[in-house]
């Protein structure tokens, strides 16, 4: 693909929200850290733009770079205090009274209990990426992804329902 600012601008604009959501999910909703990871992801996208072969979808290619970048988020220090799962669960509010943001924070906390590879898989699933594409991003077979997603879905749903705490 041609490495032109216009092409990059278009990739950036159409993929930034998804990249940012994936990064937020990897770092328990720490916005400053997610922004850094998203920036690092797009630096790699810009650097490697000319090596992108158009037989794959641009979005799949961007997700792969995002997942690889977020894998190394341990290298960064937390900028803000993210809400711990135990604190979340200690909230006396009934589920129906949780605001939209509270629910997302709770979901982040549950995702944070997963291993990094599981996080990547389930975040892509939450984004509605087809399983075949997730397999392509992760380098796993479609069947392996299907089985893992099934297990992670159960674990995540249980966590949100406070059953396994």
């Amino acid at each position: 693909m041609e490495k032109s600012p216009a092409v990059f601008q278009s990739i950036y604009t159409s993929n930034y929200p998804k990249v940012m959501r994936l990064c937020l999910g990897h770092v328990n909703g720490d916005e400053a850290m997610a922004q850094e990871l998203a920036q690092e992801t797009f630096i790699k996208v810009w650097e490697n733009l000319s090596s992108f072969r158009e037989e794959a979808q641009v979005a799949t290619w961007v997700y792969r770079i995002t997942v690889n970048t977020c894998l190394l988020h341990f290298r960064r220090k937390k900028r803000e205090n993210t809400v711990e799962l135990s604190q979340q669960l200690a909230q006396p509010e009934a589920e129906d009274h949780l605001t939209k943001q509270d629910q997302i924070t709770q979901l982040y906390a549950c995702i944070d209990t997963l291993r990094s590879e599981q996080k990547s898989i389930i975040l892509l699933e939450l984004e509605g990426i087809p399983q075949k594409e997730i397999a392509e991003v992760m380098g796993l077979t479609h069947e392996a992804v299907r089985v893992r997603i099934h297990r992670i879905k159960n674990a995540l749903t249980n966590c949100v329902q406070h059953e396994n705490i």
């Binding site: 600012p5 940012m20 690889n68 979901l107």
Partner: protein, 184 residues
């Protein structure tokens, strides 16, 4: 009772992420800045090397065997560490972010395993070699410098070593944390 479908709906209904204004332009500029900084770092390292070599000839270190060995040990261990860091950095940069995630993770674990050997085995040996070199130079310092300045050199070197040790220790801790995270 929530199902995964509910969680997915929650996820999709979260607040819209705003695309930063001029974000793409800033990314392209950041990359130019990073490359400029890399060139600056290489320049500083090269200047340090030249200064050390000039100092070596300025004090005619080659005429005195103990001073020669001491200086060579100090300079050699420093250079060895710098070369090792540069090679590690080159290796890290050569990791292809376009690889499939599982393979990329495997590569990163291999990289950080090697870094662990550098930190836990090679770095202590390098620091020891540097200290031996410094210790060999002490008699020469003692005979050619005033007592006050000699004391200053001895004590300041201890302080520098402690500060350096602190930073190296912190770096090691951070990299081991990454390795643990990758292996979890």
């Amino acid at each position: 009772m929530k199902t995964f479908k509910d969680l997915q709906t929650q996820w999709k209904n979260q607040e819209e992420v705003q695309v930063p204004e001029n974000g793409a332009e800033r990314i392209m500029t950041t990359l130019t800045d990073i490359k400029r900084k890399q060139r600056l770092t290489n320049g500083i390292l090269l200047t340090t090397a030249v200064v050390l070599i000039c100092f070596f000839f300025y004090v005619s270190a080659f005429k005195f065997q103990t001073v020669l060995i001491g200086l060579l040990l100090m300079i050699g261990s420093l250079f060895f560490r710098i070369v090792l860091e540069l090679l590690s950095l080159k290796k890290l940069r050569s990791m292809d972010p376009l690889n499939r995630a599982v393979e990329y993770k495997r590569q990163m674990i291999r990289y950080y395993d090697r870094r662990r050997i550098i930190h836990l085995v090679i770095t202590p040996l390098i620091i020891l070699t540097y200290c031996v070199g410094f210790w060999l130079l002490l008699p020469a310092f003692n005979s050619s410098l005033s007592a006050g300045f000699y004391q200053y050199i001895v004590w300041s070197s201890v302080v520098v070593l402690l500060i350096l040790g602190f930073f190296i220790g912190r770096q090691i801790q951070e990299e081991l944390k990454v390795l643990r995270g990758l292996k979890e």
